[in-house]
Subunit: 327 residues, 5 copies
């Protein structure tokens, strides 16, 4: 691409473009109009109707389709700073030919904007052609997962800590939301990883062999991402169990308080009740020290029971902190 620069722009470029003219093109269409764009892609550019449809519809999972004159990809990114309600994933559809790359996405994408910003100054992207440009976009899209995963990791950590301090059903609610988020992320990342594996093995026809290693690198990142997702899922399951265990423990504590109180007070009530009976003949009532005797009886009973509970380690006993096993 000596003098004819890679031209970059929106939908309007399509009309000017002539296939086979040797002009290199990056067409990036944001928030596409389904009605006007679909016929344009199909008849003007000649993309297959199914690819055109997939490029415009929501919800499509990452995939690769090979057509005669172009490769068709769907990737997915997570744009943390753009998102308001959690781990929403953003779709990017890409048509890659020997001289052009078309990228279509609904929302603004950080990855696309970053590459657009670097384009003027970075001669390598311009020189290396559309496939290398696509690599740059995809690389940034994949790396967009990392901050989200770190945030999730942090959330799970915070939840675990707060569960051990103060278990509360709201934490469970939170955990279920996190679980849903990570499950959705997983559902998207598994086919994306598979897709990148496919590309890096050389399945796509318009990605030049010398750039496969770059996609292999993106694949490695994606692999690490999906591994991290699995680790987090595991930790969430463990957290749920920890919640249950902490609860069980707390019930134990409450029960102990109740049991100790009842067990100490009930005998005292019985003793008081006995000396409150109205029998004609109750010698103790007439003892000089009958009253202190009764109180003493109560105190002794209470003391004995407290000793018993102490032995059972239910009260007061400062539980010795066992040495923390640290790796």
């Amino acid at each position: 691409m000596k003098d004819n620069e890679l031209r970059q722009g929106g939908q309007e470029l399509i009309d000017e473009w002539r296939p086979g003219s040797g002009a290199r093109l990056w067409v990036d269409i944001q928030d596409p109009q389904h009605e006007t764009l679909e016929p344009l892609l199909e008849t003007r550019v000649g993309f297959h109707e199914l690819a055109a449809e997939d490029s415009l519809s929501a919800n499509t999972l990452p995939k690769y389709d090979r057509f005669k004159n172009y490769d068709f990809f769907i990737f997915r990114a997570v744009d943390l700073n753009l998102s308001e309600h959690g781990s929403q994933t953003y779709k990017l559809a890409a048509f890659l030919g020997p001289e052009f790359v078309f990228t279509i996405h609904r929302e603004r994408m950080q990855a696309v904007e970053n590459v657009q910003a670097r384009l003027p100054s970075d001669r390598r992207i311009l020189d290396n052609g559309p496939d290398f440009l696509l690599y740059n976009v995809v690389d940034q899209m994949v790396d967009s997962h990392f901050p989200l995963l770190e945030k999730i990791e942090e959330c799970v950590d915070t939840l675990q800590e707060s569960i051990f301090q103060n278990a509360d059903p709201r934490q469970l609610d939170e955990l279920l939301h996190l679980k849903r988020d990570i499950n959705i992320l997983r559902r998207v990342s598994m086919p994306q990883r598979e897709l990148l594996n496919q590309i890096s093995r050389g399945d796509a026809q318009f990605i030049q062999p010398q750039f496969l290693i770059y996609f292999r690198d993106v694949y490695d990142h994606m692999f690490r991402i999906s591994e991290t997702i699995d680790v987090e899922r595991d930790l969430m399951a463990a957290t749920m169990e920890a919640y249950l265990s902490v609860m069980a423990n707390r019930t134990n504590e409450i029960m102990k308080v109740l049991t100790i109180f009842s067990s100490i007070m009930l005998p005292m009530t019985v003793i008081a009740g006995i000396y409150g009976m109205n029998f004609d003949h109750m010698p103790e009532l007439h003892w000089k020290y009958g009253y202190p005797f009764a109180l003493g009886l109560m105190a002794v009973t209470a003391a004995l029971l407290l000793t018993w509970f102490y032995r059972k380690a239910w009260v007061f006993k400062p539980r010795e902190r066992e040495p923390r096993v640290r790796l």
Copy 2:
């Protein structure tokens, strides 16, 4: 198929049909009579006895069998609007030859009726032959899963919310039913996904290469469906655990009320009991302010205990809402 139109009709078309006559045929048989249809298919049309049997029996899972002159498929759809008791799935058996497609099903199928309705106006289906027609039917059958899955998703969401508000064994019952539904759906969708994968790889002999991409598209939908099913299963498992945790939490709350009441009332009972004793010598009884003293003793005890429970955050303490960790 210039002038000889694709003819569409029921069982009666079979008799008129002559193989090799070049006439294109779509025979759609609803609610077949096992006794009359099976011999017809076997002897008149020459389908293999096992295929004929499978096309008529219930319960068969999605599959593909290759015969010399035709392909035999079984697909499954979910017709939400026709169903009364949940996620029932509906079977469609299809025999596909170069010039004909036979579809056999017991109940009315939305997918079949939609294609029948579109046939007169949609020249593409008529022009593209039986395999493209079959694609149209299967496409609609697969897409029939989406509303059901959305409904299940909604149900699980509703259940989760209502569990956190007001856990109840009826929700569990509901959850078990949902689980069964989704397990059945999964059991059907896994082989269907495999079947569509097989077709889109070109295994079926009478599906023309240019239409494989269409079946690939259906496969992608099916893939998304089975992924969603797995996500939902996971969420159901988490919901079950959430139920247990909410229950554990509620038990804790009930226990706290009981413990607080008992712990405060029991000492008061003991004090009242003591001063209800009938000993001859109980100086307090004759004090001028003995009665207020006793009441005061009770009040002080209660106040001390309440303070203790307050410190333990068992009563009144407005638990500060920890900042919701939001992705």
Copy 3:
């Protein structure tokens, strides 16, 4: 097999049989004598010692071994009507050659008897040779799983319902037995499914190509069986969890009754205790309406507490039936 009929009989046929005589044979040996049969099979018929041993020993899992002049199979059936203690599985060993099939089994097998009964009238089996005969036996053996699975399905359903009505550890015990049954069934059905897959792919040398489709059909049944087994396992796990949840719920109910009773009665006891004290100066005791006042105090306390519990939805409040989410 024009005039020389397929002869069918027991061990005695072996002696008469001459390999290569062109005579077609089905030897079915029930309850074999290990000591006499093993040498007979090995030396007289020339089967490999390992195959002969496997055909006679119990516990062997389904498998296929190829020998030079014959194929050796082990299948397993479930004979519900013959069984007394649950999901016992029955072994059938089969030696298949071009002109003979030997079947060996310990117990009476419904599948074998059915085929024997149909033999005289069903010319197709006689005409199609030993491999088709074997298909008929195996087909019936595989289908013998369905009634058992239906029974298990029914049991799990019944258990689930009865757990929601009246949870009881006996149900758990029952569930554990069912789980063991289904696990054993699964252990047997997985290799059998694999075996049938192998056969239907054409691995066995003495099954003619035109009959592979029949074994493919049996494989489809076996596939459905093993899928059903997995669904049932899943449901059992969910049932176990449901049991725990129902228990947790019931504990809650019991705790509520206890808490309500205690919380209402304890303050009344305290009030009664107070006015039962023997202080000299207790003005209320001498009020004209002191007694009704005390009773009123108790009633008011109880009423306040009941209101509180009512607000907490612990008593009486008719919980509105939330609309059942039905797919």
Copy 4:
């Protein structure tokens, strides 16, 4: 091996042995001296240093390594009668050449001793060469798993039964130990199964084709073993859950007793307390039948509550034994 017998002995045979002499050798070394044996194996016999090392070190998992002049195997057995602390597994390293087999193991091995005992009388082993001899040893080693598995099966059964009769944390402890045992067994048996699969497919160079079927047979046994292990693991998980459920049930029972006692006694206490009050004006106190009236009041209250509990099926109600669902 007409006249030159297979010679069998220990380490001392190595020195006499000359490779290529045509002499057949089985060298069995028990409790090897690492320092003296390793150089002997490496320099005198010419085994690879890594194989020599693996043959002597503990902890190696089952595997197969192919070297130019010999095959190297590691197998593992379980010797129940030799073991004192549970499922210890015993390693046997084997070097197999066309004319020799070297077996090395630390402890006495039943399998080796059995074959040694049979050698003098069993001409087949002597005639068939070292690979058939190895088969005999391995066959016995694999079969050594069965008694252990039966013992584990028995233990799990016993535990399940005793949990339903009398749940106790000691059972849990036992279960955890069993789980560890079976996990270790599993860890060893999976690669051993894979190894036997490899051998029976003909990967080992010095096992003659006609003996592959024998190793296939051992593989089948190993397959059954690893399946049984999985079934047992599943049952242990279910047992753990059963323990929790039985516990939950027992808590329920205890709570019921407490609730019934408290609910009946507390109102009686209140009534007694009321008539123990010292108000001047309490008409009932002066009734002739005031005392029986009070007792009657208590009895009626108690009776009403008991009726209520009876209705709730908390007391006495003989729970009808629901018909045991039996397969």
Copy 5:
């Protein structure tokens, strides 16, 4: 490498080095400066930019990339003695050519230092070339997992024991940390195992065939490590469940104490209350032995209840130690 020794040193060696000079080189760079090293590797030595980057960045998982003139590996070790906060893993990047090996790592690595220490005396490493040297490093890196795993094993054992003795939420906390550690370890060890498998199959171009067996040996170790990790994970899950069960058991014990105390004391309170009533006509009050009669009534009630609890095995009954099922 007759006279020209393998030279070993740091970054400074790169400048002196001339590719193709026949000089053998081991360059070991510790704590690399990203800014200065990356250009050096890329331009001076000619390594690919992605490999250079990967060799310097943290967090990369084990992998192998093949380049024209060299192999690029990433391995991971665990250095227990260097680590302060648990199972941190350490990265080693290695470039392997026919005449050189470059190793790059951030922290001091025991494995590297051990090999450096052995180099002067161990002629084999010097003679066998860079691939054998790399084997020595990797071998030590893999073996560095064993002490960590033993420590984890010990921790889990200790936790299990202490849970059965004295369950405490701190143990759960500990367990969650262990779980996280082992999950991270697993995430690293799975690709490392895969990588070693790949190498030992001969995928790396500059590892000579005669050394593949050595990498196979390392693979075997890695396999054992990842198996152990799985066993430990399983045990941790079981431990979590055990915690819950122990808790449930303890709740039971506490409840029993409460129930026994309440059930015995409440009737005594009622009896005392009855004879504390102030009715005019209460014959018992005037009996001579009324008081002992009342006390006797209490004693009898208590005795009856204790008997009942004894029968229920709630009190005193020495639970017979069932014979420990030992494998």
